[in-house]
């Protein structure tokens, strides 16, 4: 309930929709003549619009980064731990903007929105979008809000990749980039996991080649499987041991194929809950955007060269138990920045929770992010 909300929450928030009637050419070569972005913002934009922070969401995230939509909401936005008055990303000092990525399923133009040319939902006809495209459309949103330059672009995981792309694509439009639990490109293993997730969705009989909206079905089983698989990669072996061990659902073995261990029950529950609120086509798109992300591709696979023109300062953070995007992947980014003689700090946080750590209350992580952002606010005089 809203009256039990703590003072460090942004409280009740609303999603805004903005329609852009400007054609946008996507990396895949296709063009969208019009698109909508849904976004939320917290805190107050100052008079010269210089205190804005862009928060970029990860694979399954959306524009609802903090606060509550309704007084009855049980769960706040996905980054409530870090965004709010007095928190690491302090809404008393910064104006925080978070938009749903193009191709998303939470209000922005995506596979589950209506394609007026085809007179049906986009479904699989929606163009493949890339991190480049997201950054481009986010910059159009920034233009519409009169924000010339972000104080910082911040993101975890796939969100960190967007922050990285921002630094490269629009070097003069951000002062700082904060990359948390991210990577400069996917490894073969990362792509393999994504492919398994996509195959789970696409081989579901309810998928109907992506045009399931008309059929009144969703590829639920496939989406659940994809999420279960993804979820395992977000946790660490250690975290799963601590949380579930070999704990049984019943007192003793049942010797059948029903849920036997608690970890199975947990994964099924997570998959089920996810399948209720996420669109399968968007899941496919997001995993593709991850696979294609490779900012060094344009510079002969030389990341240092890709960073030549960046101007912002970087904070890079990784977590020791993250095996999806391990500290080594963050170090690749850091080393390229060092070689390019850029402003960068790096911290490797000891945390047992795996990739998910970036969403959690990990004290040292939050202290470092807060210290960095306070410094940023101080130097800007907010």
């Amino acid at each position: 309930m809203i009256d039990t909300l703590s003072k460090d929450s942004v409280g009740l928030v609303a999603t805004h929709l903005e329609t852009f009637n400007v054609p946008v050419l996507l990396a895949c070569g296709r063009k969208l003549n019009q698109f909508v972005l849904s976004y939320e913002c917290y805190g107050a934009l100052n008079a010269d619009k210089s205190n804005a922070i862009l928060v970029c969401h990860a694979l399954s995230g959306n524009q609802h980064a903090a606060g509550f939509h309704h007084v009855e909401d049980v769960k706040p936005g996905w980054w409530e731990n870090c965004i709010g008055p007095g928190k690491a990303i302090d809404t008393d000092r910064f104006f925080v903007l978070c938009s749903n990525n193009l191709g998303g399923c939470h209000g922005s133009t995506g596979p589950n929105t209506f394609n007026s040319d085809a007179k049906r939902p986009w479904g699989p006809d929606f163009p493949i979008v890339t991190v480049d495209d997201w950054v481009k459309t986010q910059s159009i949103l920034a233009d519409s809000l009169g924000i010339n330059r972000f104080v910082a672009v911040i993101g975890g995981s796939l969100g960190g990749m967007q922050a990285l792309q921002w630094a490269i694509s629009y070097p003069d439009r951000l002062k700082h980039a904060v990359l948390i639990a991210s990577a400069p490109k996917l490894s073969a293993q990362n792509i393999a996991f994504n492919e398994i997730a996509r195959q789970a969705i696409m081989s579901d009989p309810g998928f109907h080649h992506g045009h399931y909206y008309d059929k009144g079905s969703i590829p639920k089983k496939g989406l659940i499987l994809a999420r279960m698989l993804g979820h395992v990669t977000y946790l660490s072996d250690h975290a799963m041991r601590l949380k579930f061990g070999r704990e049984l659902k019943n007192a003793q073995y049942q010797f059948d194929f029903d849920i036997e261990f608690q970890v199975e029950s947990y994964l099924r529950y997570q998959g089920e809950a996810f399948s209720e609120k996420f669109d399968a086509n968007t899941y496919l798109l997001m995993t593709k955007a991850l696979d294609y992300f490779d900012p060094a591709a344009k510079t002969n696979n030389n990341l240092t060269e890709a960073f030549r023109s960046v101007q912002c300062g970087f904070l890079v953070i990784s977590f020791t138990s993250d095996w999806r995007f391990s500290p080594k992947r963050s170090v690749e980014i850091v080393n390229a920045l060092l070689a390019a003689n850029k402003v960068v700090s790096y911290a490797e946080i000891e945390a047992p929770q795996g990739h998910d750590s970036f969403l959690l209350k990990v004290p040292r992580y939050q202290a470092i992010l807060k210290a960095y952002m306070e410094r940023v606010a101080d130097e800007c005089g907010f």
Binding site: L315, V334, L338, A347, R364, I368, E374, R375, E379
Partner: protein
């Protein structure tokens, strides 16, 4: 000097006294790498006074946080893993104070420093200091001093040497010593120290190069 720098200077003198000596060897606008940078006070000072561009390497959590608070580029990295992520001669000065005796392979880290830096500054406690010699010679016990305050069984200082030892290593490795400043534990210089450094000096600050 303004108030801020005054405060910084006195902070520096408390925490990294060797800096006042070594800052003489840093030029305006130099690229500086500080190995084991602590809370970043040295880089802060050099940024203010000499407009250097630099990075600190550190593994202590509180120090890293303090560096970030004060806007110092700090990289969480263990010196024992070497400096493989830095290219040859990518810095004008590589600094390592009071850590040579605590790293696992001092020779390797010296090689690394001299590969990455045009010049290097190292400081370490002198195991040839007369009080240390006395403790071993007269009492037959492992020395404990202000510069080396730990007992043998829990000391981080695992590779102790005297100034003479260090200089023969330099000779052996064809490392040129550009400057040497020998001081007591209060980082004071004196005539006696200059005359008999390996006997009376407690800490040495070496400015070396292989270029």
């Amino acid at each position: 000097m303004n108030v801020v720098s005054d405060k910084l200077t006195s902070l520096l003198f408390d925490q990294r006294p060797e800096l006042l000596v070594l800052s003489r060897w840093v030029d305006f606008g130099d690229r500086v790498l500080d190995l084991g940078c602590g809370n970043g006070v040295l880089l802060r000072y050099l940024q203010k006074q000499k407009a250097v561009r630099g990075y600190g390497l550190e593994i202590d959590e509180d120090n890293i946080l303090e560096c970030i608070q004060s806007g110092i580029n700090v990289i969480e990295q263990d010196l024992n893993q070497g400096l493989h992520n830095f290219s040859d001669l990518s810095f004008d000065v590589v600094v390592m104070t009071q850590a040579l005796q605590a790293v696992r392979y001092p020779e390797r880290i010296l090689d690394e420093m001299l590969r990455v830096g045009r010049t290097c500054v190292v400081t370490f406690p002198n195991f040839g200091y007369w009080k240390i010699r006395m403790q071993l010679a007269v009492f037959g016990k492992m020395p404990v001093s202000k510069a080396l305050p730990f007992s043998w069984y829990d000391t981080p200082n695992i590779h102790l040497c005297s100034f003479k030892d260090f200089e023969s290593l330099c000779l052996h490795k064809k490392i040129s010593i550009l400057h040497r400043c020998v001081v007591d534990h209060a980082y004071q210089d004196s005539l006696v120290l200059r005359l008999w450094p390996n006997f009376f000096g407690e800490i040495a600050i070496y400015h070396i190069t292989k270029c």
